[in-house]
């Protein structure tokens, strides 16, 4: 047993939105009400799927080009980068990071999205990458626009990019959203406000990172992601018998 596959630390649920957040109306009927059953890690939780670079295409992390047809998509070109680490501060190498978003007008390329802003013929709105040996990832895209949604009558989502991350064990599986520094819609959003701890919610806001911008080409935003950590003990906490 090595540190990288020991048991997970208990998840701190106080930094996550609870299941039931009535201002986000859809959660009302989709939130379990019974107490969850706490499980100590077994092999089923400390293991998880692995992915190889050969499964991804060369443009999978380039949303500016990965659906370009007769030209490039409309909107602000941006570079998004960061590290995926665990709560112990270790970079998580070779893990799959996926992202999806609306186009510059706030419209998704999805059969169920009927917002009146147009589809961009050159923008798909999704991509994926695998972190390097230090847990670093990056991609380039078009800055998504805010969009209205049916919650209250005048509800608008702040501009955001959805992220899906794996880590090394299936218990680390996480989906979240990245917001953009300075967006006045952030602190009016029931999904953001569903997070009980304001400083935790602030960690979903990516700062503008001028140092990583490409002059005369694109601005950059930095979004670091932290997945659950593992127990570190000098007395080995063996999961397996041998």
């Amino acid at each position: 047993m090595t540190q990288a596959d020991s048991e997970f630390l208990q998840r701190d649920r106080s930094i996550h939105p609870p299941a039931f957040t009535p201002d986000y109306k859809t959660s009302v009927l989709r939130s379990p009400r019974r107490a969850m059953l706490s499980l100590q890690s077994s092999l089923s939780e400390v293991t998880g799927p692995t992915f190889g670079h050969s499964e991804l295409g060369p443009l999978d992390n380039d949303l500016i080009l990965n659906y370009a047809r007769e030209g490039e998509p409309i909107g602000e070109r941006i570079f998004v980068h960061g590290h995926v680490r665990d709560e112990n501060g270790r970079g998580i190498p070779h893990t799959l990071v996926e992202f999806w978003q609306a186009n510059a007008g706030g419209r998704y390329r999805h059969r169920n999205d009927r917002y009146l802003a147009p589809i961009d013929p050159n923008f798909g709105g999704c991509g994926r990458t695998i972190t390097d040996e230090n847990g670093f990832y990056y991609f380039r895209t078009i800055k998504p626009g805010p969009y209205p949604w049916r919650n209250f009558l005048n509800s608008w989502r702040p501009a955001h990019i959805h992220f899906s991350v794996f880590g090394t064990g299936f218990a680390q599986r996480l989906i979240t959203q990245m917001y953009f520094e300075g967006d006045p819609l952030i602190w009016r959003d029931p999904m953001v406000l569903g997070i009980p701890d304001r400083s935790a919610a602030e960690r979903l806001i990516a700062p503008l990172d001028l140092g990583a911008a490409v002059p005369l080409d694109m601005l950059a935003y930095k979004f670091d992601i932290v997945l659950r950590g593992r127990q570190q003990t000098l007395f080995e906490n063996k999961l397996q018998g041998n």
């Binding site: 989709r30 293991t47 709560e87 989906i175």
Partner: protein
């Protein structure tokens, strides 16, 4: 004053996958084709060892309505009971190079049905000092209205003996709660199907795990 504890990083908060989760994770269901390689709900290839099974189900909300935009992933051991992951060092259980043990899918937008084509997993060693875990498949459910992914396990109703010894099932009160984790076996035109419906809320609420 006491000495401060060393600070750890804090996990990134979860946010709902939203109604358009399909775009990012299963773009075909969103209605377009973008990647050369797609991750799917078919886990077993022609060479994979083990009993072919289909697992399927639907997801229901607290009003008993179908959740037609749920996103589901599964993670499981191979037919020998071995996870395709370096942390699994069980002896005498070979890896199957054709089997990652992971897949993903979405509920059908009309019928609400989701399914996977896979092989039945073998039993997996339990925590040290505990009995082996009965064959099971780990499920992770995300959707619009779900603020943080839900973890549960699918066990096989026809594994009564192994289930009776399972260290996780035995933490669940016998009766409807424990039964919410059992998939029932059916045979349809020679295909073995295990049916596993998930109830997010209400009297039949599925047991979810804080893992």
């Amino acid at each position: 004053m006491v000495q401060p504890l060393p600070t750890r990083l804090q996990e990134t908060p979860s946010q709902t996958a939203g109604p358009y989760v399909h775009i990012g994770l299963i773009p075909h269901q969103a209605g377009f084709d973008i990647f050369e390689t797609n991750f799917t709900n078919v886990l077993a290839g022609p060479e994979t060892k083990g009993e072919r099974i289909r697992i399927e189900g639907r997801v229901f909300d607290g009003a008993g309505s179908l959740v037609r935009d749920a996103f589901i992933e599964i993670w499981q051991a191979n037919a020998a009971g071995r996870y395709n992951h370096p942390a699994d060092r069980q002896e005498g259980k070979p890896l199957d190079g054709t089997f990652r043990g992971w897949g993903r899918t979405g509920s059908d937008f009309d019928t609400g049905l989701w399914f996977f084509e896979t092989v039945k997993p073998g039993p997996v060693e339990g925590r040290k000092g505990h009995r082996p875990m009965a064959p099971h498949i780990n499920l992770w459910i995300a959707a619009r209205g779900i603020n943080i992914g839900l973890q549960t396990r699918l066990y096989f109703a026809d594994e009564a003996e192994a289930n009776a010894d399972d260290p996780v099932l035995n933490l669940v009160e016998r009766g409807p709660l424990r039964d919410s984790l059992l998939a029932r076996r059916e045979e349809r035109d020679g295909t073995v199907v295990y049916v596993f419906d998930i109830y997010l809320q209400g009297p039949n609420e599925t047991v979810f795990f804080d893992v």
